[in-house]
């Protein structure tokens, strides 16, 4: 499978969630997008798994032991893992939490329940990650591609269309 050609290789996504229902959901959503999917139930297991090549990590925020935020920080501090795009999911719309994740390197922040339209947003991050990986292109190409892979400036990351907000729902709950 390796070295045969980028077009033939599926993207491999690692999903992390302590909720069994959400694991089933995210797995199905990712499979309908034709991604190869590995699902684990904790940040610890995710870190154990990450030696195997993974093109994107999508993780729940609120988990016991290691939170999704902790996992994000660990990944971004690791020389071998930091280039893997990370996406955070959360059932709670907490702006400070969202900002914090984006500032520390998360590509996207999805509000649960995650939907097909959210999963469709993963592809550009996967494409970018693949282009920067030297095993898929020769060294010259990957060097040219590297400039495109620089993290977007913070303002762009906080743009509203990255976050599927549901303020109306939240306002109803306050009554």
């Amino acid at each position: 499978m390796n070295g045969v050609g980028a077009a033939e290789t599926q993207f491999h996504v690692l999903a992390v969630d302590d909720s069994i229902i959400d694991r089933k959901l995210i797995e199905r959503l990712l499979k309908t997008s034709s991604y190869q999917v590995t699902v684990v139930d904790s940040g610890v297991k995710a870190l154990e798994f990450l030696g195997v090549e993974v093109n994107l990590i999508i993780t729940d925020y609120s988990m016991p032991a290691i939170t999704g935020y902790d996992l994000l920080r660990k990944i971004k501090k690791s020389t071998s893992l930091r280039n893997i795009p990370v996406v955070i999911m959360s059932s709670e719309n907490v702006p400070s939490r969202i900002n914090s994740c984006l500032e520390h390197g998360a590509e996207e922040f999805f509000l649960k329940p995650v939907q097909q339209s959210d999963v469709n947003k993963l592809r550009p991050h996967l494409m970018r990650g693949k282009n920067s990986n030297p095993t898929f292109h020769d060294e010259r190409e990957s060097h040219d591609q590297l400039n495109i892979n620089k993290r977007k400036p913070v303002e762009e990351c906080l743009s509203p269309d990255r976050i599927r907000t549901r303020f109306n729902d939240d306002l109803e709950l306050l009554q």
Binding site: S19, I20, R28, S91, K112, P113, Q116, L173
Partner: protein, 164 residues
């Protein structure tokens, strides 16, 4: 006659779904689940819902066990169970159950035991109603599949497994 049954069953199912949406028992997320079901994953909705039933009943037992204890004080633990219940209900589109969880959580945050007990009663009621209705839905779906299988000549179906 079989043709009529099929249409009638489809109408029954749509009517029940419409009712459940109208009552706010289910929300848009349930439709998302249905959209994820196809030939490659033909039982997706019932699989997810059955996991939900299993998880929910465990959580309800835990909540009741916590609250009936006269010495009860672990509101934090109760909050954790509630967050779990809220999350899974939200994920399958169980809107009314989720809303009761939110009210329950508010009582929990106020350390209001009486309020929590009332909320638990309501939660058990709403969950029961949801479960009954979803079972009804799955029953109609099963009948529809059977009626549909019989309608078409056998050679067009896989001999061992008509599309289920």
């Amino acid at each position: 006659m079989l043709g009529l049954s099929l249409d009638q069953l489809r109408a029954d199912m749509n009517r029940l779904l419409a009712l459940l949406f109208h009552q706010g028992v289910l929300d848009e997320q349930f439709l998302q689940l249905q959209q994820l079901q196809d030939e490659s994953s033909p039982n997706f909705v019932s699989e997810v819902v059955n996991i939900y039933f299993h998880e929910s009943e465990k959580l309800l037992r835990n909540l009741r066990a916590l609250l009936v204890d006269k010495e009860f004080s672990d509101y934090k633990k109760m909050g954790i169970h509630l967050n779990q219940f809220m999350g899974s209900s939200s994920s399958i589109g169980a809107q009314r159950v989720r809303n009761v969880c939110i009210a329950f959580r508010a009582a929990c945050e106020q350390n209001n035991r009486a309020g929590c007990l009332r909320a638990l009663e309501l939660l058990e009621y709403e969950y029961c109603y949801l479960k009954n209705k979803l079972h009804e839905l799955f029953q109609i779906e099963q009948q529809r599949i059977l009626a549909g299988a019989v309608r078409y000549p056998v050679p067009q179906q896989h001999p061992n497994n008509p599309q289920v």
